[in-house]
């Protein structure tokens, strides 16, 4: 598999009135094309900072960030951050409008992704009228609409209840399989990490360093390459969960 993102010796500190805090310490890793990579770690600051650096929203002190090929990146936020004054349709359409995509094509693409995330029929609804899980689906659809090669997801299901989380995790895998994107997914939920990942990178507490990496290859693809749903109570799953819980 070819490399899509290369992070080399990345370090980042934040300075404030009370002093300087080092958030990332010499982080090096790769993200491969079309893989589902999960970055797992306690707290939230280091992981979010890492994602924001990759998307170019934050600068860094040392190291390098290389992205090969298409640099179109989508970003899904933990607190949804969709626009409350726009309907579902308008939210999803926004990126296309910014790129001056002609109206007919815009409408087709928007419909396609609203369907894909399972929100058909809700096009005219405002965010305040839909549930948290549905809001996040809008967040995902609006980013998919701009056809990014890479999707960065910052603990997108963190503010949802356990059952909605399970539901959306399955939905997300289905969407990932259909759209064939490279995904970097950040979370502090061990079970979620194992359920979703092709590979897990475990980060330490601040200053964040890479503790360990885990390949998660069981129950991912069937004999015909179709996507499987991992059993959260299967032997291999529980064994990995135990290991991760100890190292976390």
């Amino acid at each position: 598999m070819s490399r899509k993102i290369e992070i080399g010796n990345l370090s980042k500190s934040f300075t404030s009135r009370s002093g300087s805090v080092q958030v990332l310490k010499e982080i090096s890793f790769e993200v491969f094309e079309k893989e589902f990579l999960v970055i797992l770690g306690p707290g939230g600051c280091g992981k979010t900072t890492l994602l924001k650096i990759i998307v170019g929203e934050l600068g860094f002190d040392e190291g390098r960030v290389n992205i090969r090929g298409g640099k179109n990146i989508g970003f899904v936020f933990q607190s949804f951050s969709i626009f409350p004054w726009m309907t579902v349709h308008q939210n999803v359409e926004f990126g296309l409008k910014m790129r001056n995509v002609p109206e007919q094509e815009r409408r087709e693409i928007t419909s396609k992704y609203i369907d894909l995330v399972g929100l058909k029929g809700f096009e005219g609804y405002y965010p305040k009228q839909i549930s948290g899980g549905m809001k996040q689906r809008v967040g995902i659809a609006r980013m998919l609409a701009i056809s990014p090669e890479i999707m960065l997801m910052d603990n997108p299901f963190g503010h949802l209840d356990a059952q909605t989380k399970y539901h959306l995790e399955e939905e997300l895998l289905r969407i990932w399989d259909a759209e064939r994107k490279t995904v970097v997914f950040v979370t502090n939920d061990i079970e979620e990490a194992i359920f979703l990942a092709d590979r897990i990178i475990l980060l330490s507490k601040l200053p964040a360093e890479i503790k360990e990496q885990f390949e998660v290859s069981f129950q991912r693809r069937g004999p015909n390459g179709e996507l499987l749903r991992r059993s959260r109570t299967g032997d291999k799953f529980l064994k990995l969960r135990k290991t991760l819980t100890e190292v976390f």
């Binding site: 409350p84 990126g95 405002y126």
Partner: protein, 255 residues
Amino acid sequence: MISVKLPKKDIMIYALPIVGVLLFWYILATIFYSEVLPTPLNVIRKIGYLLTHEVADKTLYRHVGRSLFRMVTGLVIGISLGVPLGIFMGWNRYFESAIKPLFETFRMIPSLAWIPLSVLFFGTSELGKIFIISIAAFPPSVLNSWRGVRLVDPDMVTAAKILGAKDLTIMKSVVLPAALPSIFAGVQYAVSISWMCILAAELVAAGEGLGFLTFYGMEIPDTSLIAAGMLIIGVVGFTISQILRYLERVIAPWK
């Protein structure tokens, strides 16, 4: 708190206190202070008179209209200066630091304290009264716009950037709509403050207006006229705030 909706038959809960107060007022006015206090009936009669006759050579509608004109003009000036200033203060940290001390100082002076200066500069002309209203409308417009822009979810701005929006589009399509409820709240506050200033602003040789009318009642003296003036000021003020409440739902249906 679990909220319970009152059934229609409990309309008595709303009506009884009002009836009680009116009764109390009537008793007070007829038995104890009949020289000074007008009865509710007198006030209603005076309002009826006002609706059909002229007072101080002008009809009631003329008086109300004049006060409204002063308020709206003053508001437009205060808001058109205040809102953009507030927005820019929220958007740009340097600008905010530069302007903040000036604004906070200005804000400490109540609008009515400007009356003496206004009389000196503008005499008894319309401009003087409009000036006072503008000063009153200015601070809430600035504050609420400032706050509204500052409190925009930074992730929303980041999302817009990632989706391809450039600076000006971000301001127009994200920051302003996000800040709109706050800005509108500032406008509502400015309106209510301005309307409350009307009386005081019309203190000095106004010639016409609701505030003027009330003072005219003081000079005659005609207590029914004073009370009628107060009541009409209250009713007009209430109507304006209800209209604004309705407008809010039209302007920001997503809240």
